[in-house]
């Protein structure tokens, strides 16, 4: 609470001519992080898609094996 009060009563930042440069530097920092997070999100989506594809393939393989096993059992 006291931290919020400190912030609320803090003097305004002197955003005159230097403000745009300082803002620019910090925006570059935030932009770099955001770009990195976006790239990581894309990779995560790809991994998720690969996992879903793998699950489908494994299920398809198992469903092919099941009838063969049934037929072998019936022949015995």
């Amino acid at each position: 609470m006291s931290a919020l009060l400190t912030l609320a009563t803090a003097p305004a930042l002197p955003l005159h001519s230097a403000g745009k440069y300082v803002a620019g530097a910090y925006i570059v920092f935030v932009a770099l992080i955001l770009i990195y997070v976006a790239i990581m999100a894309r990779r995560l989506t790809r991994t998720e898609r690969d996992l879903a594809e793998l699950r489908r393939e494994v299920e398809a393989t198992q469903s092919h094996e099941e009838p063969d096993r049934d037929l072998t059992g019936a022949a015995r």
Partner: protein, 250 residues
């Protein structure tokens, strides 16, 4: 790796949530301190606030390059490709931080000196040389198709280039021409207490960010490798498509 080989599970994802929260908290605290606690610099005024982002980015970037070299020694010593992966991610992250340091430094130079870049300033030029040196790391990897050879050459490069970083730093410190003010020295420097505290919190925040992103990337790369391994185990070697030529360790 041969199919059926038992690989211990990756531990890079463990504790990642706590680390991420600590990073967010530290960077938030640093931003509050930068804009509401640290006093305005008597000489530079508000522009000096760039110092709290630019210098930690540069320091962490240089340490990241050295870290990559140390991890590469692990690969050369053991032949375990996981060390190569760690080294690759460390250098990759350090390069991103280095680009951040260069851009923020350029903005500061423009605001302070009136030029985006000053070629006769040893600190700037030496940092650019280090970044450009490590920028050749990815093309070097990409140029070598054989994964084993690629990992070995890349590790040798990482060790040699990593050793160059402190040498380069010392050479600049010994240089006569100083344009960059020396506010941080082993003797204590001349930063006032509040500025020093703000800088240290910023440095810790950026270091935590580096470690968090490094671990995120390692976790993501390990997850992809686990999927490939699982596919190979369940469906056989033919079901796994080749990586093709890539700069990233496979």
């Amino acid at each position: 790796m041969a199919s059926g080989t038992v690989v211990p599970p990756s531990t890079h994802g463990r504790g990642l949530k706590g680390l991420s929260l600590a990073t967010i908290a530290t960077i938030s605290l640093a931003l509050v301190l930068v804009f509401y606690y640290a006093p305005l610099d008597a000489d530079q005024g508000f522009i000096q606030k760039i110092f709290y982002i630019h210098v930690p980015l540069a320091i962490v970037s240089l340490c990241g390059f050295i870290f990559g070299g140390v991890l590469a020694i692990g690969h050369l010593r053991t032949g375990d490709r996981r060390w190569d992966m760690r080294s690759y991610v460390a250098i990759h992250m350090a390069l991103i931080f280095g680009v951040g340091a260069l851009i923020t430094g350029s903005i500061w130079a423009k605001a302070s000196w009136g030029h985006w870049w000053v070629w006769n300033e040893p600190t700037l030029v030496s940092f650019l040389i280090v970044v450009l040196l490590f920028a050749t790391y990815q093309p070097l990897r990409f140029a070598i198709e054989d994964p084993m050879l690629q990992a070995r050459y890349a590790s040798v490069f990482a060790v040699v280039a990593g050793a160059f970083v402190p040498l380069n730093f010392i050479a600049v410190r010994l240089a006569q021409q100083y344009v960059h003010p020396r506010v941080l020295t082993l003797a204590g420097g001349n930063l006032p207490g509040s500025m020093r505290l703000t800088f240290l919190i910023s440095l810790v925040g950026i270091t935590l960010l580096y470690v968090t992103l490094w671990r995120y990337e390692m976790t993501a790369k390990n997850a992809r490798m686990q999927v490939r391994r699982l596919r190979r185990t369940l469906l056989g070697d033919d079901a796994v498509p080749g990586y093709g030529r890539s700069a990233a360790p496979s």
